[in-house]
């Protein structure tokens, strides 16, 4: 991460990895996001919380290019990026997981992670058919790296199994390994703890802390307030498509607006 402090960055934002501002998006009559902005510092675990329907996933889809915003500006690692095509966002350095796990279910766990290396490798059809020295070397490197990442997330012995046969918690881990394979600057996780039991959550927390220590910034959408409060360095609270509070977890937790957003709506239909 040597690009910090590049010219062109606003002063005071030297350690910002992702700066997005003014994001709006309307779905028909629903203003899903209005003027949402987030600045994520390098090396942080950044939480995005809010009640159901607050716009968290839409925000997530906007910054990863799945949903086009009506307005907004995007800067990743000092460089503006246009989230107009999902694959370019991945190339720019944002990798994501999905709320409802989206693995390549008929491929093996190892192959899933190998697909993650696609964006950082280059062998084409001709090299594959001729099986050139470069292509073979690259293929071997992809395989080694994929296995390392499986080991890293703790499912190194399951590489030969089809993804859909893994347990739920292992599928979550596999998704993280696959995302890490793209060498992201920002790892964006959409409710990674959903459906996990206490032990699995604890393991997930350890894993995410380790990922952060190894230099990857994390953006986390999560329902589990306890996990967010324990893990995140900073938190943004969304409600009805707006930012209602941004700050450190302890501050946010005490904020009246946040409490109202959660408790006031807890019994309303989502």
């Amino acid at each position: 991460m040597s690009t910090a402090g590049e010219p062109g960055l606003r002063p005071g934002a030297a350690d910002a990895l992702l700066q997005v501002a003014g994001i709006s998006r309307r779905f028909g009559g629903l203003q899903a996001l209005s003027d949402v902005g987030v600045t994520i510092a390098r090396g942080q675990i950044y939480g995005l919380i809010g009640p159901n329907g607050a716009g968290k996933t839409t925000f997530f889809n906007v910054i990863t290019g799945l949903v086009r915003p009506d307005a907004g500006s995007f800067v990743l690692d000092g460089k503006p990026y246009e989230p107009t095509a999902v694959h370019r966002v991945a190339a720019a350095g944002i990798a994501r997981t999905f709320q409802n796990i989206r693995l390549f279910s008929e491929m093996t766990a190892l192959e899933n992670v190998m697909v993650g290396r696609h964006v950082r490798t280059r062998s084409g059809a001709l090299a594959a058919v001729l099986r050139t020295r470069a292509a073979r070397a690259e293929e071997a490197a992809i395989r080694v790296r994929a296995q390392e990442l499986l080991d890293y997330v703790g499912i190194g012995s399951l590489g030969h199994l089809r993804a859909r046969t893994l347990s739920y918690g292992d599928q979550r881990r596999l998704e993280i390994a696959r995302a890490l394979a793209t060498e992201p600057k920002l790892l964006a996780l959409d409710e990674p703890a959903a459906g996990m039991n206490g032990t699995e959550k604890l393991e997930l927390r350890r894993l995410l802390e380790r990922v952060r220590t190894d230099g990857v910034t994390i953006l986390l959408i999560e329902h589990d307030v306890k996990l967010v409060m324990g893990l995140c360095d900073r938190v943004t609270v969304l409600d009805e498509g707006r930012v209602i509070k941004e700050g450190e977890p302890a501050q946010v937790q005490r904020d009246p607006a946040v409490i109202e957003a959660y408790l006031g709506r807890a019994h309303a239909p989502a």
């Binding site: 799945l66 991945a90 693995l103 190998m114 395989r143 390392e148 190194g156 060498e183």
Partner: protein
């Protein structure tokens, strides 16, 4: 070492298969030339099925117009190696006083390239379509090509319409003309036998290309798109390019097979490229084992040889049992196809010879053993 024994076993199997493939036309030759022709066609169908398997099996894009690429290849060679163009266009006749006789070595890459071009032409507008919608558009594409071939005899006579193009040159390689018998190594090889060996070699090459593509970065990208397009995009795969490449590479196989078909038959006409042909090639892929190369080959050979077996057995068996022929072989064939497909879908939805299930994933030979990473490496 278990690995070495397994490898030796695989080598032995490969050798045995190669010997059978080499000996087959000699044995079939004893039964009659028709059987050798059937075998040659089986090899062509293997190429077609492998090509379609790239699109349907690997990338998961349902294509019901695949035979159009076969047609493109066949007509490419037909136009470049027959008197048709010189007869109809004085300018071309003037330019080539000796007639148009493009050698096969130019015709194959040309047929492949033009078919690939048509593959992109089909692929580009259907990038956003999936499943049934994609199937319908590709079906339409296949019909459009056939109808063009059928009607492009006016105002300029490009394809000679429904009459087709005749007098296409045979394959000539190094002074050997494949339309005449050849005596080599004490063997008397007939023309169909020569073609069989050529087609079998091309089919073997196709198997090699397909299996290398399957185990590559591109092959994984195709499968990722097949499994989950959105997740594939999120992994940085340029879905548009990768899909177009699937269409183009798949079409290439069709184009080459078509070129060979034109040379083998010496005659092409639009009726060889009907929707039914597309359906049959797709049946070969699905029946054999979608996405599994050995299964696809098996399906292709089975469906290519089966009608011939029926043709030779149905009438005599009925004569024997009932004293006369009640059901025509052709009718019975379609009935059996229908029954077979229904039964397959019910009992073996992944095909007769599907890819092995979980826990038995291939490990590429020569892949370095992965040492356990203590503590894990930093990403």
């Amino acid at each position: 070492m278990a690995g070495k024994a397994a490898q030796r076993q695989r080598r032995i199997t490969q050798l045995a298969v190669a010997l059978v493939i080499l000996a087959l036309p000699l044995a079939a030759g004893a039964l009659g030339a028709a059987w050798v022709r059937t075998l040659a066609f089986a090899a062509l169908y293997v190429m077609l099925a492998l090509g379609l398997n790239i699109v349907v099996g690997f990338a998961g894009l349902l294509d019901l117009g695949y035979i159009a690429f076969y047609a493109v290849g066949a007509y490419t060679f037909a136009l470049l190696a027959s008197p048709h163009l010189t007869d109809n266009f004085p300018a071309i006749a003037a330019a080539f006083p000796g007639g148009l006789h493009v050698p096969i070595w130019y015709a194959i890459p040309l047929g492949a390239g033009i078919a690939a071009g048509f593959g992109v032409l089909l692929g580009a507008p259907v990038l956003k379509l999936r499943g049934d919608y994609l199937a319908i558009v590709t079906l339409g594409f296949g019909e459009i090509i056939r109808i063009f071939l059928n009607n492009l005899n006016r105002p300029l006579n490009l394809t000679n319409g429904p009459q087709g193009i005749n007098l296409i040159d045979p394959v000539r390689i190094g002074g050997i003309s494949f339309d005449r018998p050849l005596d080599v190594l004490g063997l008397h090889l007939t023309s169909p036998q020569l073609y069989y060996y050529l087609f079998a070699a091309l089919a073997a090459l196709s198997v090699l290309v397909c299996s290398r593509l399957q185990d590559s970065r591109l092959g994984r990208a195709w499968m990722a798109i097949r499994e989950d397009e959105i997740a594939a995009k999120a992994m940085g795969i340029n879905v548009r390019n990768v899909k177009l490449l699937a269409f183009a590479l798949g079409a290439t196989f069709g184009g080459v097979a078509g070129t060979m078909f034109g040379a083998f038959q010496g005659f092409v006409s639009p009726e060889s490229f009907s929707l039914m042909e597309s359906v049959i090639v797709l049946s070969m892929v699905v029946l054999g084992g979608l996405g599994h190369i050995p299964g696809v080959i098996f399906g292709a050979v089975l469906l290519a040889v089966f009608p011939e077996v029926l043709r030779h057995t149905v009438a005599p068996v009925q004569e024997m049992l009932f004293g006369r022929t009640l059901i025509d072989a052709e009718v019975l064939r379609m009935l059996l196809y229908g029954i077979a497909l229904v039964v397959i879908m019910l009992y073996r939805p992944r095909g007769l010879w599907p890819a092995p299930l979980h826990g038995t994933a291939r490990v590429a030979p020569g892949a370095p053993a992965v040492p356990p990473v203590p503590g894990g490496a930093a990403p």
